[in-house]
Amino acid sequence: MNLSKDLMAASSTPLVLSVIAEGETYGYEIVKRVAELSNGQLEWTDGMLYPLLHRLEQQQLLSSRWRVAEETKRKRKYYRITEQGQKALQQQQQQWQVITQALRQVWGDRNDYQFV
């Protein structure tokens, strides 16, 4: 599914933060996880993920380190969420809940079977 550019920009930060909040991980895994979570409906341009990660790191919502991966013996950059990142994620969760609730109500009146 092709999301509009604005929605993509707005949703990618909470998505990425949430995935990383599940545990330390790296870029390729994040892309895979997002695809999995959306049943393959959300397909990002992989390269665009990294500038976003770097921005979140600059904002100190994430921290990163280089580590050699055990299975491939290649070095990878791993990201983990910081305390500040946790707080930001909570805020985002609240905001998105407000929006999804509102949408659910206004759409749910007419055809609630589409929402689970």
């Binding site: 790296y26 870029g27 390729y28 892309v31 895979k32 341009t45 992989d46 390269g47 665009m48 990294y50 500038p51 770097h54 921005r55 600059q58 280089w66 491939t72 290649r74 070095k75 990878r76 950059k77």
Partner: protein
């Protein structure tokens, strides 16, 4: 999974080289993106794809590099303005220890150059004393030269031979200049002082090339280096002047006059130390930012060509008398040196494989006008020599104009051959770098041979 004809590592290396062309990615990003690419390729091949197919899909999924790099640039905007002093100090050889070691070396050498200026005071000469002005004028360039020389010996790892060259030059030049009975403000004395920097700068060039002036490309690098050095030095001098002025003003407000401090320490020591610092900066940022000297050359080439042409026409048709006075002659020669500088930098910055363009014709026009101006100057000097006899100044001017004439003729000839597609640009570069020692040689003659030749008059 081992397909025969597809070399994955080679393809990835190519792809990385392609990344490296975008300034927005740094080497960490290269590693991170490569790691992503390899993970994706592994996953794809495990699900049954051939390696080449996997490579294609994985690179495609990363997105168009142009767009991705624009995203990177937005996040890392400072990367496009490289922080050269601290992060790029060691160039390609890695950061960290080596970078700091170089910085330390540069600071030590700059400090040594600064203190060297004060050394003669132990022997009773004083910077602020007017009567010692002539002593300082003769030796000024020698204070900074050994240290910028040693910097290149160290940087290019030239070893004992390089050190010998630096110390030998210092020894010979300082002995001769101070043993020659040069009277203050005598013609030969002033000429020697004016030409000495050129000789020493050429020695710096020999050291800079790292192979004792052997390869053409290194010589061209030295010419580029010289232009950037001049610009950096002027910038540092401007900064230094502003700082000195502020210091003077701040102290004046609380009732102290620190002009002595500025004159005896800040200005002379700063000027000597800045020589080493400017050399280091040019070397460090070499690959980081577009060079400035060629840009200036591009701006001023058409302007200078136009002004010279108009001036020539005014002189030929409008001037009251054709007699070129001494002062006019000096100005004309300065203009010709400026033209030579413009030509040097335009040539050194030109991409040799680019086809002939408008700028090349402009350049040729500038050279031809300069040649005519040089002819006028030559006629005027010969006229003065014939009517007033030989003097150090006239002979020096004659020699310089002859050298310029030959140089410009060479440029004109090779440029002509280049724009008419008879010869490549390489011939022009060879002419340019081959001729540089001639300037230095002539300067050496003026410094070392003129004084005894003209009885130190």
């Amino acid at each position: 999974m081992t397909t025969s004809s597809f070399d994955m590592d080679a393809r990835i290396a190519e792809w990385r080289a392609f990344l490296a062309k975008h300034a927005a990615f740094d080497s960490d990003d290269h590693d991170e993106l490569e790691s992503h690419l390899r993970d994706h390729i592994d996953a794809l091949t495990q699900s049954g794809l051939q390696q080449d197919e996997a490579f294609l899909i994985a690179t495609k999924r990363l997105g168009r590099l142009h767009d991705v790099s624009r995203e990177y640039a937005e996040v890392h905007s400072q990367r496009l303005w490289r922080h050269l002093v601290f992060s790029d100090a060691s160039g390609s050889s890695g950061t960290g220890w080596l970078g700091y070691r170089e910085l330390l070396m540069v600071m030590l050498l700059a400090l040594a150059a600064a203190l060297m200026v004060k050394l003669p005071e132990l022997g009773g000469w004083s910077l602020t004393d007017d009567s010692d002005g002539w002593f300082y004028a003769r030796n000024l360039t020698l204070f900074a030269f050994p240290f910028i020389g040693i910097y290149w010996v160290w940087k290019r790892e030239l070893g004992g031979y390089g050190v010998t060259l630096v110390l030998g030059t210092v020894l010979v030049v300082s002995l001769l200049l101070n043993l020659y009975p040069l009277v203050p403000e005598s013609d030969t004395g002033v000429l020697a002082v004016l030409h000495l920097p050129l000789v020493l700068w050429f020695i710096v060039g020999v050291l800079y090339t790292g192979d004792y002036w052997r390869s053409l490309s290194r010589r061209m690098d030295f010419i580029r280096f010289s232009g950037e050095f001049a610009i950096y030095y002027v910038l540092i001098a401007l900064g230094g002047a502003a700082l000195t002025g502020l210091t003077l003003g701040l102290y004046a407000f609380i009732g102290y006059d620190v002009e002595w401090l500025a004159q005896a320490w800040m200005i002379p020591c700063g000027a000597a130390g800045a020589v080493v610092v400017a050399a280091f900066l040019v070397e460090a940022k070499q690959s980081a930012i577009e060079n400035i000297a060629p840009v200036l050359a591009r701006i001023f080439t058409p302007l200078v060509a136009f002004i010279l042409m108009v001036y020539l026409l005014t002189m030929l048709f409008g001037a009251q008398t054709f007699a070129v006075q001494r002062e006019a002659l000096i100005l004309l020669d300065l203009m010709l040196v400026l033209v030579l500088g413009l030509v040097l930098y335009s040539v050194s910055s030109r991409d040799t494989v680019m086809p002939v363009g408008v700028f090349d014709y402009l350049q040729l026009a500038l050279i031809i006008v300069a040649l005519i101006v040089d002819l006028v100057a030559l006629v005027a000097i010969s006229d003065r020599i014939l009517s007033m006899g030989l003097s150090p100044n006239r002979v020096a001017a004659l020699g310089e104009n002859l050298i310029l004439f030959v140089s410009l003729s060479g440029y004109a000839w090779f440029y002509y051959q280049f724009v008419t597609h008879k010869r490549g640009f390489y011939a022009l570069e060879r002419w340019q770098t081959g001729y540089v020692p001639v300037y230095a040689l002539w300067a050496a003659v003026v410094v070392l041979i003129f004084p005894p030749l003209f009885n130190f008059s």
